[in-house]
């Protein structure tokens, strides 16, 4: 169970995330939707502490022996939390000059003393885990390639493999398919869903398109200007609610709204 309580983040006078609260039971797949700038990324980055919250709490009871407020973690415990709350990014964030296998092994660095990881000393169990993760994502034949030789879709699968070997309880995905073509987007979303169902890992994913969230998620959270404006099952969302999430009221982004809602997805 992950509990987000009154989480707020302000950058100067701009409030990016405004007093947001919700609970995610273990094993759920949640899609967070909203326009660019709605605070989706900031929210996810506060959960794994890549960004520090201005106020509020993030409570988690299945990463450590007892329930902890993630926002108070420091040092080694904070790094452990980040490992257990893995993240995949829109731009994949692999290390370009390293081999795919090495990139995946990076998911194990929080489990070993710093010095041994600096010397690239990983255990056989680590390597076996990495190979299995690559195999699950159908990337095992690229293991010795350099990460920057791969296509975007392949890189994202490697990034998911890296997240998997962190042995996470929660997997955060920040616009995981926004840089990918339709076919690769489908592969990546299918992988996330499979990991969610087979491993029981909670998945919280920021998504730009409503249709993707409807296709893959148990639950949708809609954000607008830093505030949650919808929280429920995909079927519960009405057309009007969807328009409220994406719409700005102006004429200028009418096309963008239609696109995000999937109303004009094919042809004109």
């Amino acid at each position: 169970m992950l509990k987000v309580e009154s989480l707020t983040k302000s950058f100067g006078s701009l409030v990016a995330v405004d007093n947001v609260s919700f609970e995610v039971p273990a094993g759920q797949m949640v899609g967070i939707i909203g326009r660019s700038g709605a605070g989706k990324s900031t929210l996810l980055r506060m959960i794994n502490r890549l960004t520090d919250a201005s106020s509020g709490r993030v409570l988690c009871d299945d990463a450590f022996a007892t329930e902890v407020d993630v926002c108070t973690l420091k040092g080694r415990r904070l790094r452990q939390w980040r490992a257990r709350c893995a993240m995949v990014f829109q731009q994949f964030n692999l290390v370009p000059r390293l081999a795919v296998m090495t990139n995946v092994l990076m998911g194990r660095i929080s489990y070993h003393p710093t010095v041994s990881t600096l010397l690239m000393m990983f255990s056989d169990a680590d390597r076996a885990l990495a190979i299995r993760a690559l195999q699950r994502l159908d990337m095992v034949s690229h293991g010795l390639h350099r990460a920057d030789e791969l296509s975007g879709g392949q890189q994202q699968r490697v990034a998911i493999a890296r997240a998997l070997v962190q042995e996470p309880k929660i997997l955060l995905a920040d616009e995981p398919i926004a840089s990918l073509d339709l076919r690769n987007a489908t592969i990546v979303m299918d992988s996330l869903r499979r990991i969610n169902q087979e491993d029981g890992i909670t998945v919280i994913s920021n998504l730009h398109l409503l249709q993707t969230a409807r296709d893959y998620c148990d639950r949708i959270i809609g954000m607008r200007k830093g505030v949650i404006v919808f929280d429920g099952a995909p079927a519960q969302m009405s057309e009007a609610q969807a328009r409220e999430i994406y719409g700005s009221g102006g004429q200028d982004n009418e096309e963008e709204v239609e696109l995000a809602l999937g109303a004009t997805s094919t042809g004109h």
Binding site: M101, A125, R127, A128, L129, I131, R132, L134, Q135, V140, S141, G143, L144
Partner: protein, 292 residues
């Protein structure tokens, strides 16, 4: 789950990966052995003798003590004033040296920066251009600046001009190489972007390369300024004037106290430049990376 034997593709990859790691380990061992042998060989040929080192170390203080005249507690101000009896002339020389270094840094950075695009494999276009520029830069920087200075003193006579030219040539070589390496590490994506927009080679350099490399260029340039103050001092030894000339004369005439006074001025100047360039560099790079 932890140790289930991998099958099929995964098993093949596992053995491939194991072979890859064995190969890497062999290379690492070989490389390490060669490295150690080289270090030991270098130490032997250079007669790096630890016993001699420990033995001689105290004697260095004898020389250092000669650099400072006796300074008494009661007559402190007077003694220091006497020590720095020629401060006016020395400060004038120092200014000369600083201006030499500044001019050489500016000239060398512009010329070296220009050449760096031809010395970067990803930008040079033709291999011949790349190869020629690289060799030219190597000549410019491997010939010690004191040798360039001697040459220019013979050509243009004693004075700062020879010093400025000497340091400029060396700076061209150094900046050209360092900048070229920065150029080679940039992302090629913006270049494709500019090229796809119909840009020429010069436009690619201006709009796709320069914005990416500018912070690094700045950083290297400040560092080069520091090094050039030191170089400008040294070339003073062979007739380029400035504070180096004063230092050299006083050592030659065995006026060790004067040499000490001048050395202290130089050290203080370098420290001041270091502090100033540090803070300026940080603010400049900060701005550069947050621009746009």
């Amino acid at each position: 789950m932890a140790n289930a034997a991998p099958r099929g593709l995964a098993a093949r990859f596992a053995s491939e990966y194991a072979a890859h790691r064995r190969r890497k380990r062999v290379y690492a061992t070989l490389f390490g052995a060669v490295f150690v042998v080289c270090v030991v060989a270098a130490a032997i040929t250079a007669k790096f003798d630890v016993i001699k080192l420990v033995d001689g170390l105290p004697r260095t203080s004898e020389f250092l003590l000669k650099l400072v005249p006796p300074i008494g507690m009661s007559s402190f101000a007077n003694d220091v004033r006497e020590w720095y009896w020629d401060i006016g002339k020395w400060m004038g020389s120092l200014l000369n040296t600083l201006l030499m270094a500044y001019l050489a840094t500016v000239l060398g950075t512009f010329i070296g920066g220009f050449l760096s695009f031809f010395a970067a494999r990803n930008l040079a276009g033709h291999y011949l251009i790349y190869w020629t520029t690289r060799r030219l830069l190597e000549i410019a920087r491997t010939v010690p600046d004191i040798v360039w200075a001697l040459m220019f003193v013979i050509a243009f006579g004693i004075g700062p001009l020879a010093g400025i030219l000497a340091i400029t040539v060396h700076t061209i070589g150094a900046q050209g190489k360092l900048f070229a390496e920065v150029n080679e590490n940039i992302s090629p994506l913006p270049i494709d972007g500019i090229r796809a927009a119909g840009g020429s080679w010069w436009q690619e350099i201006r709009f796709a390369v320069l914005p990416q490399v500018m912070p690094n260029y700045l950083s290297y340039t400040f560092w080069r300024m520091e090094l050039n103050v030191r170089s400008a001092t040294i070339v003073g030894f062979v007739g380029a004037g400035g504070i180096g000339h004063d230092l050299f004369t006083s050592v030659q005439l065995l006026y060790f106290a004067d040499a000490g006074a001048i050395l202290l001025i130089i050290v203080a100047t370098i420290m001041l430049i270091d502090v100033l360039s540090e803070s300026f560099r940080h603010s400049a790079i900060g701005k550069a990376s947050f621009a746009h």
